[in-house]
Amino acid sequence: MDIQVNGKPQSIPEDYTVSMLLHHMNYPKSVAVFINGRQVLLGEYDDFGLNERDVVKIIRILGGG
């Protein structure tokens, strides 16, 4: 199915969760994820299913040091 991630089209298999998407796109788990404007809780990443035409925003956490 087709979704949009950070403004770019992305094709993913059916039944993909947030965790699977992050793994697929080489993101670590410690990122922020917003789907259709709603922030997903960290505890939901493994179970939160993605749907056709979802608009996903992933924010990478780049800290100090």
Binding site: P28, K29, S30, A32, V33, F34, G37, Q39, V40, L41, L42, G43, K57, I59, R60, I61, L62, G63, G64, G65
Partner: protein, 635 residues
């Protein structure tokens, strides 16, 4: 009982070769329990305002804390405090390693250096014995050579040495203090203050570790580090890839300071210079500080070019000598890091000042004659090593650049000042306020110039509410989340101030900010209270600790007010308010009106005077600093 230990302070009068011991009673020490809080307290008690930072009148304070030396991760930090020759403000700088813990294990909390030695000396400490020794044979030597000579002279390898290199001797304004040949009290030019006193090194005999007050409770906290590391992929990544692990990520987002901050985009070099590349190419091993399980320090080797003795570059160093200068070769950066550690130079100010010179050269503000034939163009990696050596030795153009970018710009004139990317004369570290506006706010208001380790970074507020980061921040009253890092509303300003107070606790208690921070780090706010209780029997609270952090900031700000600083000095470079012209961040800039409003809000929340930006009498009294109100008489 809830008693606080006394502080034992060595006072070393270098001019008169006199060493005395002073004791600060526990009830006073508790208010300023180490680090730069203790340092600025001692300066405000004993030093007049308006002195030349490189004159014998400046005081130099080495300090640890009541907690230093305990056997737990992230606790071996040394603070050095003096009036800064780079900024003219209070100077404050921290480093890790083994020196801090062994210094404390010898029974000392601080050393105060007064005056100037007639000839080069070093201080040797072995328990209660402290001795001023001649440094005649090591003056002029780079750190690696000096360390070997001191060990040979003392016939002892069981010592730790904090020293300056030739740059400190030559009074380079951003000279630093180096221990282990690769750990730096980098910022604010504390090495130049040491050089101005003819003080080459402080040497401590290794000593048996400090024992915790409640062994059982402490052991539980210390042993939990393994589990914490397993669960914390941010800190685990820091251990594996070092602080440079995120460099390419900053570029990908368009916020890696590049070519003297003219862009945030570095496609030609980000991949070559990021921490994963370092890990896969020149990394020889990971190093650590006393009792620390994180092992974030890099040790790199390039046979025949870069010696592992001098460690390896941090993110800041990879950025300042890499993207700031348009340099794409990791080897050049590693060599620059080595030269800075040999000569004793702050890698941030040094790399940033060279980047400034490159832009001046490209814009014709430094001509070929002034550049002495060096092609100071962005990306010309072949000039980096030579320029560093010229700076360290104050030769030719190096003498100009040894003053830092702001003073150099004022000498160059013709608008060069706009190219100095600095606050209060200190060059900006590699975190862009366009991406992290609250960090930018703290760059502006921070008492000792731009510093990225004085508050938590904006981006952690976009993490989900159930994340470790957000849950911990709730403990210090930070409740609001964001869907982007770019906002700078009133709650974000409050986040800047409250997290600044928290980081100020860390710089007081001399705790590593990667291990003991308020959000993503290994241990959080509850743990720090437990550390105090189990470590030294200090039955404290987060409330008391936050007051301590706030007290330090206010003392520093008060110190600066005596020197004539006020809100007019809390300015970011104009370049940060101009939109980026390329890369993923194209069009992004800080909004000047919003930023100025945020600065006013910050003063208001801090309880500072809105016209001057300095602490009010009421604010000082609230922080038990009423004794400072008459202190201006010392001006």
């Amino acid at each position: 009982m809830n008693l606080f230990p006394d502080a034992r302070v060595l006072e070393v009068d270098l001019a008169n070769k006199k060493i005395t011991t002073k004791v600060i009673p526990g009830e006073i020490y508790r208010l300023y329990p180490g680090g730069s809080a203790l340092g600025v307290y001692l300066l405000l008690q004993n030093m007049k305002a308006g002195i030349d930072p490189l004159s014998p009148d400046n005081m130099l304070v080495f300090s640890v804390s009541a907690l230093t030396g305990l056997p737990i991760s992230g606790i071996s930090r040394l603070t050095v405090t003096a009036k800064s020759p780079l900024t003219g403000t209070i100077g404050d700088s921290q480093s890790g390693g083994f020196f801090p813990s062994h210094f404390k294990a010898n029974g000392w909390d601080a050393i105060v250096f007064l005056g100037k030695a007639e000839a080069p000396v070093y201080l040797y400490i072995d328990g209660d014995k402290a001795e001023i020794k001649s440094a005649k044979n090591i003056w002029g030597k780079v750190t690696g050579e000096a360390e070997a000579l001191i060990k040979e002279e003392l016939c002892d390898n069981d010592i730790e040495i904090a020293q300056i290199g030739p740059a400190g001797e030559k009074l380079v304004k951003y000279a630093c203090i180096i221990n282990m040949c690769n750990r730096a009290n980098g910022r604010n030019g504390m090495g130049a203050v040491m050089g101005s006193k003819n003080l080459k090194a402080v040497v401590v005999k290794k000593a048996k570790g400090v024992k915790p007050y409640n062994r059982e409770g402490f052991s539980e906290l210390a042993k939990s580090v393994k589990e914490r590391l397993e669960k914390n992929e941010t800190v685990a990544g820091l251990g594996k890839y070092g602080t440079d692990g995120d460099l390419e990520g900053f570029h990908t987002e368009g916020f890696l300071p590049t070519k003297n901050w003219t862009t945030g985009y570095f496609p030609e070099g980000a991949g070559n210079t990021t921490g994963t590349t370092m890990y896969e190419t020149i990394l020889k091993e990971r190093d650590t500080c006393y009792a620390c399980a994180v092992r974030c320090k890099r040790v790199v080797e390039v046979p025949g070019v870069v010696d592992p003795l001098y460690g390896g570059p941090e993110y800041e160093t990879c950025a300042t000598f890499g993207s700031y200068c348009g340099v794409t070769e990791l080897e050049t950066i590693a060599l620059a890091n080595q030269l800075c550690n040999m000569y004793g130079l702050d890698t941030i100010s040094c790399g940033a000042t060279i980047a400034f010179a490159m832009e001046c050269y490209e814009k014709g503000l430094i001509d070929d004659k002034a550049a002495e034939g060096l092609l100071l163009r962005f990306g010309n990696s072949s000039v980096i090593a030579e320029v560093i050596e010229k700076i360290a030795n104050r030769e030719g153009i190096g003498d100009l650049l040894a003053e830092g970018s702001l003073r150099a710009a004022r000498k160059i004139g013709r608008g060069a000042e706009k190219l100095s990317i600095s606050v209060k004369g200190q060059e900006l570290p590699a975190h862009m306020p366009q991406y992290k506006p609250s960090v930018g706010l703290v760059y502006a208001v921070n008492p000792f110039g731009a510093d990225h380790q004085s508050s938590e970074h904006d981006v952690f507020l976009v993490m989900p509410p159930d994340s470790r980061e957000r849950q911990r921040l709730l403990k210090i009253g930070i409740w609001k989340g964001y869907d982007n890092p770019f906002e700078l509303d009133d709650e974000k300003v409050r986040f800047a101030l409250e997290s600044q107070k928290y980081f100020s606790i860390l710089d007081t208690l001399c705790l590593c900010q990667f291990v003991w921070g308020p959000s993503w780090e290994l241990y959080g706010p509850d743990d720090i209270v437990e550390l105090c209780r189990n470590g030294i029997g200090w039955d404290t609270s987060l409330h008391e600790l936050m007051l301590i952090g706030e007290r330090r900031i206010n003392m520093m700000r008060f110190f600066n007010s005596r020197e004539g600083f006020d809100k007019k000095d809390d300015k970011l470079p104009d370049r940060l308010f101009e939109p980026f012209i390329d890369g993923p961040s194209e069009g992004v800039s800080l909004d000047k009106t919003s930023f100025e409003r945020a600065t006013e809000t910050y003063y208001e929340l801090a309880g500072w005077d809105k016209d001057t930006g300095n602490p009010t009498k009421a604010c000082l009294k609230r922080l038990s600093l009423g004794w400072l109100i008459d202190n201006k008489q010392t001006v």
